[in-house]
């Protein structure tokens, strides 16, 4: 138990600075999107604004597209880059815990942190836009944004997977595969059209969540 606390504290020390930046970035962008929406809504008039929005399916929230990815990069890299450059993780693996447990405490910690940086912002955003937009629009908008959020989580898991891979050659190949996988999350889809893709994306995210097991296994054995 003490080791667990110790581990989490260590992760917190590494990531707190970047996590707070990520939190601010997430909130800032979402609030800016809301402010811009409000501005357009007020200057065009609600009736006109809504009918244009519904006819052209305007993606007024498109600024948010790569924000989850950016947050995942911030948290993932701040968590795993020092481990790699300083070979610190090797030391951590000598703790009296199972190796996989240690890796997974790190990964789950990062996942929870990612969740805590993004989801409150999304909740606030939903509340704010509901003031101006009816649920018939808000729900498809959130559906369209959800692949991006899932993409954030998936990117984080893939960063962990890649970081734990010991051989540079394979790391490069994983980066290529990860890039292609992530493009699935960030396709340019019209509002409401992402729904049919969501189960596939959830499956991929789930799979990427257990992928670090494979590379950490390779890492432990020091394969090259």
């Amino acid at each position: 138990m003490k080791t667990l606390k110790h581990l989490i504290y260590k992760e917190w020390l590494k990531t707190r600075w970047f996590a707070s930046i990520a939190l601010l970035l997430n909130l800032g962008v979402l609030i800016y999107i809301f402010i811009a929406l409000r501005s357009n809504f007020l200057s065009a008039g609600g009736t006109i604004y809504l009918s244009t929005l519904m006819t052209y399916k305007t993606q007024f929230f498109s600024l948010y597209r790569y924000i989850p990815l950016g947050i995942a990069l911030l948290i993932g890299l701040s968590q795993f880059v020092p481990e790699i450059t300083d070979k610190r993780i090797k030391l951590a693996l000598h703790l009296p815990l199972h190796n996989l447990q240690i890796i997974y405490i790190m990964v789950v910690y990062g996942f929870v942190l990612l969740f805590l940086t993004m989801i409150p912002g999304i909740l606030i955003f939903t509340g704010l836009i509901s003031v101006y937009l009816p649920a018939e629009i808000t729900i498809p908008v959130l559906q369209t944004m959800s692949p991006w959020l899932l993409g954030g989580f998936c990117a984080y898991f893939l960063i962990a997977t890649i970081a734990l891979e010991p051989a540079w050659k394979f790391r490069f190949l994983y980066i290529l595969i990860s890039y292609k996988v992530l493009t699935l999350f960030f396709m340019y889809l019209s509002i409401g059209n992402a729904v049919s893709l969501l189960p596939v994306l959830c499956l991929i995210t789930g799979l990427s969540g257990i992928a670090p097991v494979y590379t950490s296994y390779r890492f432990n054995k020091g394969q090259l």
């Binding site: 008039g45 609600g46 009736t47 006109i48 604004y49 809504l50 009918s51 519904m54 006819t55 996989l100 509901s130 003031v131 101006y132 937009l133 009816p134 018939e136 629009i137 498809p140 394979f170 190949l173 994983y174 595969i177 292609k180 996988v181 396709m187 889809l189 019209s190 509002i191 409401g192 059209n193 992402a194 049919s196 893709l197 596939v200 991929i204 799979l207 257990i210 992928a211 097991v213 494979y214 296994y217 390779r218 054995k221 394969q223």
Partner: protein
């Protein structure tokens, strides 16, 4: 632990296969695709023949070489061909002074030309917000005007929403709800079809499928609600509403069979084989033609003004899947995964089994050789699975297995 890692590796290999099956065939096609010859088929209102044009032009040299013939194989010159299709080549014929004076006894003038309608029918309708403006149907204006409110139909019934305040207008909602209830409507609506745009010459309101799957017609006449229950014996899968004419809408049922909903609320099944359900339609005051293109053929159905079959002809299609490049593709890739553009439906397309099996076997042998070279035991279940994946997924499996190395 070891076992878990190995199983997870297999999942990752499958993910790799998926990624490769999306990437490689697309790259292959982009690199090697040749332009397919273009075949067009139309129905001539003059000779009542199917007119076919076939384009043998080479895009590289840009030489124009087009031949024209009808369904009997009789050849036409370009001039003759154009004359058979006055609705399609109106401008060219007018400049040449070759426009017919009359067609089928009707004077060929602007009025007649205006009866042309062309468009596309798809069995899946694209996403729409379930929130629509209800226009005034008899405003006395040429074009409908955008109302100040929007309506939705949820479990509480119809609700009119003021977008400025995002609040519901209780009185209007109540009065419309009453009419809907009286017509036998059961909330909530499964789907609402209509044209929520002011760019139409008349407003026909909305066609609504209620909770039980019954069809209703809703519109607003002089501020008063109007709701009519349309009896039907089909299950509606999607609808495409038409701008004013003799039709309210086209209806697809779940077998992609096409129906028309006429302005007298009668529903007529069209004498058309559904195929893949996608139709290019073109109608004028004499005939309505529906063209369906799939992998093998182009089928053109010609219906008369009362939607009875007047004529039918099919020609062999000439698209990418028939080109030699695509044949080679079938030898290379056991399957490809395509994403429908803009919709993100993932569709795996499998190739004929016997084509790719040879490449798969070859790769299987190479993989086995690599494994033996590295002193792996081939009867190890995970090595067998690797070989199995290569055997099934061919080139994708081969690459993916090598990307995620398996430890001894």
């Amino acid at each position: 632990m070891t076992l878990a890692a190995k199983i997870i590796r297999l999942f990752l290999v499958l993910l790799g296969v998926m990624v490769l099956a999306m990437t490689l065939p697309e790259l292959y096609r982009k690199n090697f695709e040749k332009r397919p010859g273009k075949k067009l088929i139309y129905y001539s209102e003059i000779s009542k023949n199917f007119m076919i044009s076939e384009d043998f032009s080479d895009t590289l040299t840009n030489e124009n070489h087009i031949i024209y013939y009808d369904q009997t194989g009789k050849r036409y010159t370009e001039r003759e061909y154009n004359r058979q299709l006055p609705f399609l080549y109106t401008r060219k014929l007018a400049l040449l002074g070759e426009l017919p004076d009359t067609i089928n006894g009707n004077k060929f003038d602007q009025q007649l030309i205006k009866t042309i309608k062309r468009g596309m029918l798809m069995p899946v309708s694209s996403f729409t917000f379930q929130l629509n403006p209800l226009f005034e149907s008899e405003s006395g204006k040429v074009r409908p005007e955008l109302p100040d409110d929007l309506f939705r139909i949820n479990h509480r019934g119809i609700e009119f929403l003021d977008p400025e305040t995002n609040k519901i207008l209780p009185e209007k909602s109540r009065s419309f709800n009453k009419t809907l209830k009286a017509a036998g409507f059961q909330s909530p609506a499964r789907n609402i079809y209509g044209i929520p745009s002011t760019l139409k010459s008349r407003d026909d309101g909305y066609f609504i499928i209620d909770q039980r799957g019954e069809l209703f017609h809703l519109k607003m006449i002089k501020g008063r609600p109007y709701c009519h229950h349309i009896p039907k014996n089909i299950s509606v899968s999607s609808m495409k509403c038409m701008v004013p004419g003799d039709l309210y809408a086209y209806i697809y049922d779940h077998q992609q069979q096409l129906y028309v909903l006429r302005t007298d609320y009668s529903i007529k099944k069209l004498p058309i084989r559904p195929g893949n359900g996608r139709f290019m339609y073109s109608s004028n005051c004499f005939y309505k033609s529906y063209k369906n293109t799939d992998n093998d053929s182009i089928r053109l159905y010609v219906l008369d003004a009362d939607y009875n079959l007047a004529d039918y002809h099919a020609i062999e299609a000439d698209n990418y899947s028939k080109s030699p490049v695509a044949q080679t593709e079938q030898y290379l890739f056991p399957l490809k995964i395509i994403l429908t553009p803009g919709y993100a439906h993932m569709i795996p397309l499998f190739n004929p089994f016997c084509r790719f099996i040879w490449l798969n076997m070859l790769l299987l042998i190479i993989l086995a050789a690599i494994k033996l070279q590295n002193h792996r035991k081939l009867y190890n279940p995970f090595n067998l699975l690797d070989l199995g994946i290569t055997g099934i997924f061919g080139i994708f499996g081969f690459i993916a297995v090598l990307i995620f190395p398996n430890r001894k």
